[in-house]
Amino acid sequence: MKNTVFFGTLATGALLAGIAAAGTLDDVKARGVLNCGVHTGLTGFGAPDANGDYQGFDVDICKAVAAAIFGDQSKVKYVPTTGETRFTALASGEVDLLVRTSTWTYSRDTDLKFDWAGVNYYDGQGFMVRKDLGVSSAKELDGATICIQTGTTTELNLADYFKSNNIKYTPVTVADDADAQRQFLAGACDAYTTDASGLAASRATLPKPDDYVILPEIISKEPLGPLVRHGDNNWGDIVRWTFYALLAAEEKGITKANIEEVASSTTDPEVRRILGIEGDEGKMMGLDNNWAKNAIAANGNYGEIFEANIGSATPIKLARGLNALWTQGGLQYSPPFR
């Protein structure tokens, strides 16, 4: 009897949660603030600065979504999530949106029931070695000691790669990036492997960056992007198209600086639709028609966000590479705004 009551309560609770989650946009609007799950601290991608304001490549996606909904990029409550808590935080509704360098994989998409709204950074696992090791390819790392964080997909990727190339290595397990950097610097391992973006950031802060090289091989695909829960497709659309609006803006040459000028002078019908001058694009998702304009005006288009946080002008100096627009040989491609 008691069990029935207990499970009944549970089921009711789940049902209520389901009903409430059906209208994420309404919840967010009623709350007046977007709950965005971010990294507890990752250089360039998301971390609070000295004043406690969140900054970074991922954080700017949160800001763009908030700007699209409220017309105000500051209406975000950042919820720092760790590797362990991130997916539960999203699944339980604690955050509306998770932008935390999370790799889009099959099982996360299906089994964990999430939808990736896009890929804001195409990453991949690489290697960094000392220059005096005289290695120019990862295939020459036979018998090397390699620093690697445990419990991550990087560990599995590494094992797969060395097995398929029939070479051997000795793993040196490290706790986190800082630990890895220290061990690598102290010579505890010949190579350090993690995502290429992380390697670039680490290399930039080593005492003599020029003594180290990042090997050309990228041994895994790590598409990182913003994700939402299953069950509210409209909410997924809002995040997805906000991101695409940033991409399209770069393609169309709309920047934070010239957006007003473009809006008043453009004759390109697609730009007019994006900026809400023509058509009812915003209404279709339950937003204002100038949603995309607000999102772009917040921190600029995709290229501007990239350059400001992790691009060649920053100490991290990441090249656009795969993250260039499709028109420039990259993979970033926005479907048409029509």
């Binding site: 971390a47 999530t81 339980s92």
Partner: protein, 477 residues
């Protein structure tokens, strides 16, 4: 021929080998072959450690804007291969280590609150030691006022806070018993000072306890302790659950006394560690006592519940409790209900530590001879009188080392909250500082800095427990 000495010879100093440092060294360090070998080995180890760490510590840089600049300064001063600590990182992010993201314009609130913490603790820590209490309150008042001058804020806030601290010193000097008023008010003042908002929320919450007492007092002689307690708790629960918010809102309408609200996600650094540590420590002790008594009780239900609670909580790792606080509770609550994460964590850490305390105190209870209980009964005391006047003072005295150990462990465990995304000083703030490209690559310095502060706090607790043991050591003299 006879010779008789008429005056005493002046005493000779003992041989060199039998006195002073030489004697001590010979007796303690080189008394035998094994001891000599061990001494030499120890000297080697100490030399090796100092050789490794001293240059690094001495080369430390305190003023720089980035790790690269630190390295440049060290290379310029001590040669290209020299290593050194980059303490400038602490300098640059000092406020974040201490307050997390607390708004800078109201730093005076946590500072004042921290000062008042010692004022509130003084009458408990030094219950019959006026000098100790005055010394503590006086030192804290001076330090708080100095800290307040360094914080931003309007002059009248500074004046008000200083006046409050000086008044506490005066009370500690002239009427030490009235400091207990500060102790009682302190928890509510903490909530108001740290989270801000209307003052009427904490005040009406406090009134709940008044309701509890008002119901208990007249009922207990008639209905007995158990019934009266239950009814009082029910009445208080009705107050907190139903009436509290309406009364608070009404009072706010009449007299608006609000300060700037601060959200929980702004809390971090040592502010968070001390907030969780102090609240959990102070709440877990009474709960622990009740659980220990419950476990010894003759009443089947109370005994079973206590045993089940203690065994369950002690059998589960703290990190599991924290994940429960952070994640599982959220599943059971509807998405609109945002039950404060810090509050959730404090509750579960408190329960965790209460279960441990209960067992430590049960050990103290078990150490008492049966005669003590019987003597209390023979004097005609009821259960609570016996506990309060005879059993608990002795049991707690025996349990002091164990209780303080639990507290020290609990305080250090507050760093685990970083696993649920709170900004604790050890991992949370360190990650944030390291995520800044200027400080990325820094490794030992944050750990050493945080370690030193934790050591100071824990060592303080440990010294106090020794003092308390000495003071209460009354039976065998």
């Amino acid at each position: 021929m006879q010779f008789t000495r008429t005056e005493m010879l002046p005493p000779q100093p003992p041989p060199v080998s039998q006195s002073g440092a030489v004697k001590w060294v010979r007796e303690n360090l080189f008394s035998g072959p094994l001891n000599t070998i061990l001494t030499l080995l120890s000297i080697l180890v100490v030399y090796y450690l100092l050789n490794l760490s001293l240059p690094w510590l001495l080369h430390g840089v305190w003023n720089a804007s980035s790790l690269t600049e630190c390295r440049t300064i060290i290379a310029a001063n001590f040669g290209p291969d020299a290593g050194g600590g980059c303490w400038a990182m602490i300098h640059a992010r000092w406020y974040q280590w201490i307050f997390g993201f607390y708004p800078p314009e109201v730093y005076w609130r946590p500072i004042l609150n921290f000062g008042l913490l010692f004022v509130a603790m003084a009458p408990i820590l030094f219950s019959d030691n006026l000098r100790g209490s005055v010394k503590l309150v006086g030192t804290v008042a001076v330090l708080t006022i100095i800290a307040l001058t360094l914080a931003q804020g309007p002059w009248w806030v500074f004046a008000l806070c200083s006046a409050l601290m000086l008044a506490s010193v005066a009370v500690a000097l002239l009427a030490p018993r009235y400091l207990l008023v500060a102790t009682v008010l302190y928890p509510f003042a903490t909530v108001w000072l740290l989270w801000g908002g209307s003052i009427w929320g904490p005040v009406t919450a406090m009134l709940g306890f008044v309701v509890l007492v008002l119901v208990y007092r007249p009922l207990s002689p008639r209905l007995g302790v158990v019934m009266a307690t239950s009814l009082a708790v029910v009445a208080a629960a009705i107050w907190w659950g139903v009436l509290d918010s309406y009364v608070a809102a009404a009072l706010e309408q009449v007299v608006s006394l609000s300060i700037q609200p601060v959200e929980s996600d702004k809390f971090g650094g040592f502010l968070l560690a001390f907030l969780i540590g102090v609240s959990s420590i102070s709440i877990s002790l009474p709960i622990g006592i009740l659980l220990a008594l419950g476990r010894q009780s003759d009443m089947f239900l109370i005994k079973t519940l206590s045993v089940a609670f203690i065994e369950f909580v002690r059998g589960v790792p703290l990190i599991t409790m924290l994940f429960t606080a952070s994640l599982l509770l959220q599943y059971f609550l509807p998405p609109q209900v945002q039950f404060d994460l810090i509050l959730r964590v404090i509750i579960l850490v408190t329960l965790f530590s209460a279960a441990y305390n209960a067992e430590v105190i049960r050990g103290g209870l078990a150490a008492l001879p049966k005669g003590q209980y019987e003597a209390a009964d023979a004097l005609g005391m009821d259960y609570w009188q016996a506990q309060r006047l005879i059993i608990m003072p002795q049991a707690l005295k025996v349990s002091i080392p164990g209780i303080v150990s639990t507290f020290i462990g609990l305080f250090k465990d507050t760093t685990l909250v970083s696993f649920v995304g709170l900004q604790d000083p050890l991992r949370g703030i360190t990650t944030i500082v390291r995520a800044d490209i200027n400080w990325k690559g820094i490794y030992w310095e944050p750990y050493i800095f945080v370690g030193v502060i934790f050591f100071a706090a824990c060592y303080g607790m440990s010294r106090y427990s020794l003092y308390l043991e000495r003071k209460l050591h009354t039976d065998h003299r």
